[in-house]
């Protein structure tokens, strides 16, 4: 079935050339005379040798072995796979941005600093905070940054950072992981039967050792935490800081703001809510917005206004320090800035409204066919369980694979962990009703197949470049790099 099965190394032919470099125009260009012999490599790195055209056809063909938002509906829950506007790409490629060196003096990079500064201000307004740091490179790094800021805050105020961070059991894996790296013990808070965080359990855990509560709104079940004001209030009463994982901000734009909900710090995923592309895994950007009391602790340098100009403020003795070598994923900042300026306030609000509408539409159409373990009002995504299908011998994985054959990427599966056979569906606002209908039709067809012809699901996919892959083999006998085949005679 696999039409094309080459790696670039397998195209390599000694002597082929894919580059164009000038001849040396300086008198001495022999490395052996320029550098001590001890430092020189003895054998060249076994990189491939291909022509430019070899590479074009190879990577073009590989690209065609992928689904992307541009080609397929991509309802991957929690990931907000919305349309990535093409204009964003053009703007990020303007030479004044793309070819700007990070150590260019401030006076010669005012345009870039202004963009960072203004984007920070807009993001802060969107989440109702007092400021934002754009340095974190992704959501998880935003979390680490935010928790370290909280750590610095407690340390500064109380001389000790406290010990624990409370995280609901529905949280994304990065939440406990970031917390752990920040030196905290993670304490899991239960969800109530309705899927929201259990306030009693929360209250039980709140003590002087608790540095922070870290919570996702809407949570990973797609539910708005309706008692969030109470929760943040309870925390603050114990001097506990409240961190919001803003990965699901796409549900809230112009409707509600983390700052107004009582949060002290929130990270955003520009690669979810603000249309920067995911690139097959990254890069993203995870700005952190904060209330004023945390401002002393944000990463250095802070990009600040200085009259009509912008500058980098390095003199922040209580800062947590740096989390990136430079100033953050500026290329993503340009894209997000472009997007926000394209949408304006009414546009952003329409984004969230439509995201919520789309999720609820799918929910309504699929409700007869799939179990909905948490029945609260869905915001921007809906989490079904395939437990009914599981009883018919078909798992969430099987449903996902069958969707591929029917021309759709799969929802997130087995997340959140508190849902058995979870199918986490996030359509985003950029998808049309027609696409949602086609997807729902496919899901309904699958539910019926699970009853009538489950083997079709167990065999899926059959139209992809490969069939199901042996994960166990991959993990038991890791093969993590290409090696040339043994010469045969």
């Amino acid at each position: 079935m696999n039409e094309y099965d080459k790696l670039v190394f397998e195209l390599s032919v000694p002597g082929r050339v894919g580059y164009s470099l000038p001849e040396a125009d300086v008198p001495e260009a022999d490395p052996a005379r320029l550098l001590p012999a001890a430092h020189l490599r003895r054998t060249p790195a076994a990189l491939p040798a291909v022509s430019e055209f070899d590479a074009v056809r190879h990577y073009t063909r590989l690209s065609r072995m992928n689904f992307g938002v541009d080609t397929h509906f991509y309802p991957l829950g929690s990931c907000t796979m919305k349309y990535n506007p093409k204009i964003n790409e053009d703007m990020a490629r303007l030479p004044g941005f793309a070819r700007l060196h990070p150590l260019t003096p401030e006076e010669a990079s005012q345009g870039a600093l202004q963009l960072i500064g203004e984007l920070g201000e807009m993001l802060a307004e969107i989440v109702g905070m007092d400021g934002a740091s754009l340095q974190p490179a992704a959501g998880a790094q935003g979390e680490l940054t935010g928790v370290l800021m909280i750590r610095a805050f407690h340390l500064d105020r109380e001389g000790n950072p406290r010990k624990k961070v409370l995280v609901p059991d529905s949280a994304h894996g990065t939440n406990p992981a970031s917390t752990a790296i920040a030196g905290y013990q993670t304490v899991q808070i239960k969800s109530e039967a309705n899927g929201e965080v259990d306030l009693l359990d929360l209250e039980r855990h709140l003590d002087e050792d608790v540095a922070a509560l870290m919570i996702t709104v809407p949570n990973t079940l797609g539910l708005f935490e309706s008692r969030i004001l109470e929760a943040t209030g309870l925390c603050h009463a114990k001097g506990v800081q409240v961190y919001m994982d803003g990965a699901n901000l796409n549900a809230l734009l112009g409707l509600a703001r983390p700052g107004d909900l009582g949060f002290d710090v929130v990270h955003m995923n520009l690669h979810k809510t603000f249309t920067t592309p995911h690139g097959g895994g990254g890069p993203g950007a995870g700005p952190v917005a904060f209330k004023a009391h945390l401002a002393p602790h944000i990463p250095t340098p802070a990009v600040v206004r200085d009259g009509d100009a912008w500058r980098m403020d390095w003199k922040r003795p209580k800062s947590i320090g740096k989390v990136q070598s430079f100033w953050g994923n500026f290329g993503m900042h340009v894209r997000a800035y472009t997007y926000i300026r394209t949408m304006g306030p009414d546009g952003l609000r329409a984004v969230s409204e439509n995201a919520i509408l789309n999720a609820n539409y799918i929910r309504a159409r699929l409700l007869p066919y799939y179990d909905l373990p948490y029945e609260g009002a869905s915001m921007h995504e809906v989490v079904f369980s395939a437990r009914r299908q599981k009883a018919q011998g078909v798992s969430a994985t099987d449903i996902a694979k069958r969707l591929l054959d029917l021309g759709f990427y799969a929802p997130s599966i087995y997340f959140p962990l508190i849902v058995e056979e979870a199918l986490m569906i996030e359509p985003t606002e950029t998808e049309s009703k027609e696409t949602l209908d086609e997807f729902c039709d496919a899901m309904i067809q699958i539910a019926k197949e699970a009853e009538s012809t489950p083997q079709v699901l167990l065999d899926a996919p059959v139209t992809m470049p490969v069939r199901r892959l042996d994960q166990t083999l991959a993990a038991r006998q890791p093969n993590l790099r290409w090696t040339p085949p043994e010469p045969t005679r």
Binding site: S63, P277, G282, F326, K433, L480
Partner: protein
């Protein structure tokens, strides 16, 4: 809502909205969000600027971009961790393939073989350059890679001290310090002498409690450390050796794997990626195979499908946060896959001959530049240690003033070192890639002559 501006990224019309609400059984959108307590609702419009039409927005961004002294309109000798190397134009065309750049992390491998294969290629090529057994799919950037290496060494050795060379990038070192704050790992910095790590001081600093030694090659000043010695010092005390590298230089220089490095990290921007004012960049991360289960980040492995055909998957995921949560080897989730893809294509295009050639041209031109700039009266090389494509230059006048004068002649002359190290406030760091021409170097020397005169 005005015409077009805000609607072109939404597909649902008013009529469809009504129809969908009917299916849902809700009166209006408000009914869908009534779970949000009204006290928590925003009762006004966001105070951000109104939408701009595409053409107006382009004009605005173009104006912002033009206020920056970029490497297209200026001749640049800036380095210090980010470099203006040649980027074949073809790379961008591949990155713009929607199937690549609008895909997510390849969670469904059957529909993501394109991404998975490119990562596998990437892992292989970086292993070749670093001389290590295993490379992950990328971490954020060079700084966070170094920080992750320190944490990993801590977890592997179960020791609590980090020893850092004073000739590390000071920016990357600050990232290490940030990441080490949580687990409270003290980071001890060993001074440099004549542009390289003071080996005597290093020997004293490394103890039985040292988790790892962090060293950079070529180091922040462009100089070449004696890795054999550093390795011996680290390993003698059971510490791991972590080397932060410039992958372009490794096309020509001895791979750290061959001197016994345990972890090799680095900033990969120079491989086919633009300067982008500092990001997104590419965190390289390689290690010995014995350590793979302690490694942060994603790994792609080869396997077979039901028919026995070759295929690729994310593997060894039990290290990762989505499975191990607080016990994960790292919190990283989103990485920099597309940047790694650019690097992969770059390495494929330049390949076995081209990458060494780019490295050779860079070091040759750097040496020529050092010679020409060093001839300017009052100007001298700051260090005598061998260097690769970057060197520190001592100036007879305030570097800020000199660099400003050069900028007026459309030359970005280098990075003022005083901002990082007070002992170097009379010096600048000059980087030269294969992209600079002899004529540009000569013009720089001439302009520097006037600027310091």
């Amino acid at each position: 809502m005005r015409h077009g501006e805000t609607m072109r990224y939404l597909s649902t019309t008013a009529a469809q909205r009504a129809e969908m609400l009917r299916t849902i059984g809700a009166e209006d959108i408000e009914a869908l969000i009534d779970r949000i307590p009204s006290k928590a609702r925003l009762d006004r419009e966001l105070m951000i600027p109104a939408a701009l039409a595409e053409a107006d927005l382009v004009a605005h961004l173009r104006a912002l971009a033009e206020r920056n002294a970029d490497a297209e309109r200026y001749v640049t000798f800036l380095g210090g961790g980010a470099y203006d190397h040649y980027i074949p134009s073809m790379i961008n065309h591949m990155l713009l393939r929607g199937e690549f750049f609008t895909a997510y992390t390849p969670y469904q491998p059957e529909a993501s073989q394109g991404t998975l294969r490119t990562i596998y290629e990437y892992q292989t090529m970086i292993c070749e350059l670093t001389g290590m057994d295993v490379t992950n799919a990328s971490v954020y950037d060079g700084g966070s890679a170094l920080a992750e290496a320190a944490l990993m060494a801590h977890s592997v050795t179960e020791r609590g001290q980090i020893v850092a060379s004073g000739a590390l990038s000071p920016l990357a070192r600050r990232v290490v310090e940030t990441y080490c704050a949580g687990p409270r790992l003290p980071v001890k910095t060993v001074p440099w002498v004549d542009g390289v790590t003071d080996l005597d001081a290093l020997r004293k600093a490394v103890t039985g409690k040292t988790a790892c030694v962090l060293v950079q090659y070529p180091n922040f000043f462009g100089c070449l450390e004696d890795l054999d010695q550093v390795a011996a010092i680290a390993h003698e005390r059971g510490a791991l050796l972590v080397v932060s590298v410039d992958p372009v230089a490794l096309a020509l220089l001895r791979p750290p794997g061959s001197v016994g490095a345990d972890i090799v990290v680095g900033e990969g921007q120079a491989l086919g990626n633009h300067l982008n004012f500092g990001g997104p960049y590419l965190g390289l991360f390689s290690c010995r195979k014995e350590l793979v289960r302690r490694m942060p980040g994603r790994l792609v492995g080869a396997t077979v499908d039901l028919d026995g055909d070759r295929g690729f998957v994310l593997t060894l995921q039990t290290r990762e946060q989505h499975i191990r949560r607080e016990k994960a080897t790292s919190n990283i989730c989103t990485n920099v896959a597309l940047v790694a893809l650019a690097a992969t294509i770059h390495m494929a295009l330049l390949g076995k001959d081209g990458l060494p050639r780019a490295a050779t041209l860079s070091t040759a031109k750097a040496h020529y530049a050092a010679e020409m700039l060093g001839r300017v009266p009052g100007v001298s090389l700051r260090f005598t240690a061998p260097y690769f494509k970057e060197f520190a230059l001592r100036l007879p006048k305030n570097p800020g003033t000199v660099l400003r004068a050069l900028r007026r002649r459309r030359i970005l002359g280098g990075v003022a070192l005083g901002q990082f190290d007070r002992r170097l406030k009379d010096s600048i760091l000059v980087a030269v890639t294969e992209r600079r021409t002899r004529a540009e170097i000569d013009a720089y020397a001439e302009a520097l002559g006037s600027a310091v005169a």
